[in-house]
Subunit: 374 residues, 2 copies
Amino acid sequence: MSVPILDTGIKLVKNVGSFGFGAGSLNDLPGYVNSRRTRAVEARGEGKVVYIIDEFFADRPEIIARLGAQTSDRIEFVATREEPKTEAIDQRVADMIAAGFSKPAALVGLGGGITLDTTKAVANLLTNGGVAEQYQGWDLVKRPGVHKIGVPTISGTGAEATRTCVMTNTRIGLKLGMNSDHTVFDHLILDPELTATVPRNQYFYTGMDAYIHCVESTGGSYRNAVGDAYSRETINLCRQVFLADDMMSPESRTRLMVASYLGGCAIATSYVGVVHPFSAGLSVVLGLHHCVANCIVLRAMREFYPAACDEFLAMAERQRVTIPNGVCKGLSDTQFRALYDATVIHEKPLTNALGSNYRAILAYDKVESLFRKM
Amino acid sequence: MSVPILDTGIKLVKNVGSFGFGAGSLNDLPGYVNSRRTRAVEARGEGKVVYIIDEFFADRPEIIARLGAQTSDRIEFVATREEPKTEAIDQRVADMIAAGFSKPAALVGLGGGITLDTTKAVANLLTNGGVAEQYQGWDLVKRPGVHKIGVPTISGTGAEATRTCVMTNTRIGLKLGMNSDHTVFDHLILDPELTATVPRNQYFYTGMDAYIHCVESTGGSYRNAVGDAYSRETINLCRQVFLADDMMSPESRTRLMVASYLGGCAIATSYVGVVHPFSAGLSVVLGLHHCVANCIVLRAMREFYPAACDEFLAMAERQRVTIPNGVCKGLSDTQFRALYDATVIHEKPLTNALGSNYRAILAYDKVESLFRKM
C-alpha cells in the first residue's frame, strides 16, 4: 500500500477546552462542577446539573458519592448493551425537559464511548432544539451545547476528544454522528483509577480501537503532519501498555488513558483504512460491538497490515486475551452479500488505504474469503 | 541521572481553543476574524480588531495585505531586539486605549515568541485592568482576556500553546510570566509558509528550544504520562526535521510547526532540567537571546545529557549551523559569580534534573568550569 501522500482536506482542529488528569482526579469533579453551578446561579437564578452515567456504576455507590451531586440535580443511567439510537436520545432529552432540566448548568457524562456520545448529543439538543436526526452530518449544529464534562471509565475509543457522537438512526438505517465543533467536550477528567474494574477482554478490545485507528491512518494516503504526530504517539503508548507484563497495572492504565485521548485527537484529522469498513460490516449485519469487531477483522488482515497484524496477535497473546473466532461460520449467501455491501460502501477509508480503484482489489469473492477467515 | 519518578503536581491542562493548519492557512484568518467581528458588532455595535505584528513584517506588504484588516482596525508592530518588558506592555495597552481600542473584538498576534507573548499579555490587561506586574505569577488573572488569535512565524518556543507570557520586570529585576488559563490563545493559524523566510541560524536555534525542553523534561524526575507523550513526539518530529537533508524544506517546516505546538503542550505539564537554568544565566548576565543561549549551553552539557548533546551536534553539523563559541571568554570573577547566582537560583528544574542535593553537584567551581566551556 505505497500510495502517494494526499491532502486530507482537514484544516481545522477544535480542542477539548481543558482536562484534569491523574489517579484520583475524579475528586476534582465537584469543584469544577460547582464553578459552573455558581456561574449559572448568578446568570439566571438556578444551577442544576445532570449526570449521565454508564449503568455499570448504578451499583457502585462509592463512585456515585464522589460526584458531589446535590439533591436538586438529576442522575440518570445509560444502558450500554446497544450503541446509541437517535430515538432513544430524543426520548432522553424529552424526559429531561419534562423533569425541569431544560437548561442545566452542566452535563456530566461518566462512562465509556456510548455514555460520552450520549452526553454530547443531549448537550447539543438541549440548546439547539429539534430531534437528533436533524444534526446527523457535518456542521449542522448551530449553537454551543450545554457546558459538558466527560469522565471516561474505559480507554480507547477517543470519544472524549472527538467532534462527533455516533448514533444509529433506525428509521433511515443510518449510523452517523453530529460532527460539529460544538460536540467537543468543554472539560474532561482523566482518572485512570476508574478503569481498574473493566473486564480484561473489554479493556483490551477497547484499547485496540486507538491502536487500530492509528495503524490505519498512518498506513493511508490522506495524511497530514498533525494527525501523523498524534497517531505515532498513540501507537507508541499502546505498545508500552499491551507489550508490558500487565496492561492493567496503574501505570499501564494511565498510559492507555493518554493514548485514548491522543488517539481521539488523531481521529479528528485523519481517516481510517481497511479494518473499520469490514468492522462496520460485522456490526451492521451481525450486531457485533465495534471494538471486538475491529479485533476480529485485524486478525484477518495480515495481507494489508502485516506488521500491525503480527504485533496485535503478540499483544493479545501477551495479555492472555481471546479474540472470538468463526463469527462468519455458517452464514448464508444473503448474509455474505449484506456483509460485502456494508463494507465496500465506505468509500473514503477504502480509497485512503487502497486507492480509488479499491473495488477491483476488494472484489466480491475476495471480501467473502476475508470474512470467512474471521 | 536515574532519579525516581515523582509527581509533577500539575493536574490540569488548558488547551488552545482551536487551530487551523497547513500551507496557505493564513488565508483562513480573515474569515475567522470576521466571525468575531460580527459577534462583537451584534453585542455592542462595533467590531474593531488589533493586529500585533513582528516588525520583521513591516516591510512585507504581501503578508500584511492577506490579514484582511479593515480601515477602522489598528496595526502595530513589535520590536524583537529585546524580550518583552512589563513597562513596554503597559505603554502599549495605554496607547491602544487612548486610540479607542479598549474593547477590540479580537487581537491577532503574528510573529515569534516575543510577539505572541506580547499579544497574550495585552489581551489579559485590556479586560483585567491594572498593570502587567500585578499579574506576574500564578493564576492572578481573574477574567478571560480579549479573544486572541496567534499566528506563529517561527517554530520552537511553543508560545502558541502555553499558558504563560514571559516578561521582564526591570523595576524589581524579575523575569516571570502571567501563568493563567486565561493566557492561552483562543485560536491559532499554523501556516508553515510563514517560516520560509526565517534566517537559517535563527530557525535552528529556535527549533532547538522545543527539542531541548523535551530532552530536559523526559530526563527529569518529575514526570507524568501526558507531558511524556507530548515530549516524546516533539523529539521525534525534531529528529525528522534536523536530521533531514534540509530542515527548511516545506515538509520539514510543517513538521517543526507541529513540534513547536506539541512542545508547548509538553511544557505546560512538565519541568526543564540543567540547560535552561544555565541558559537563563547567559541571558541575564550577558544578554544572550534565549534560544541561542540554550544551544550554547547544551553543547557544554555532555556529562548531563550525553546522547542528546551528541545528537544536537550532529543536527547542527548536518544543517551547517554554527553555534557561537567562547561567549564567556575573558569574563571577570564578578561576572562568573553573577552567572553562578543566576543559574543555581532555579531550584525546581535543577531539583528535577539532579535531585534536591543539586547544589552539591553544582558547586561554584563546577559551574564556572561549565561556563568557561561555552
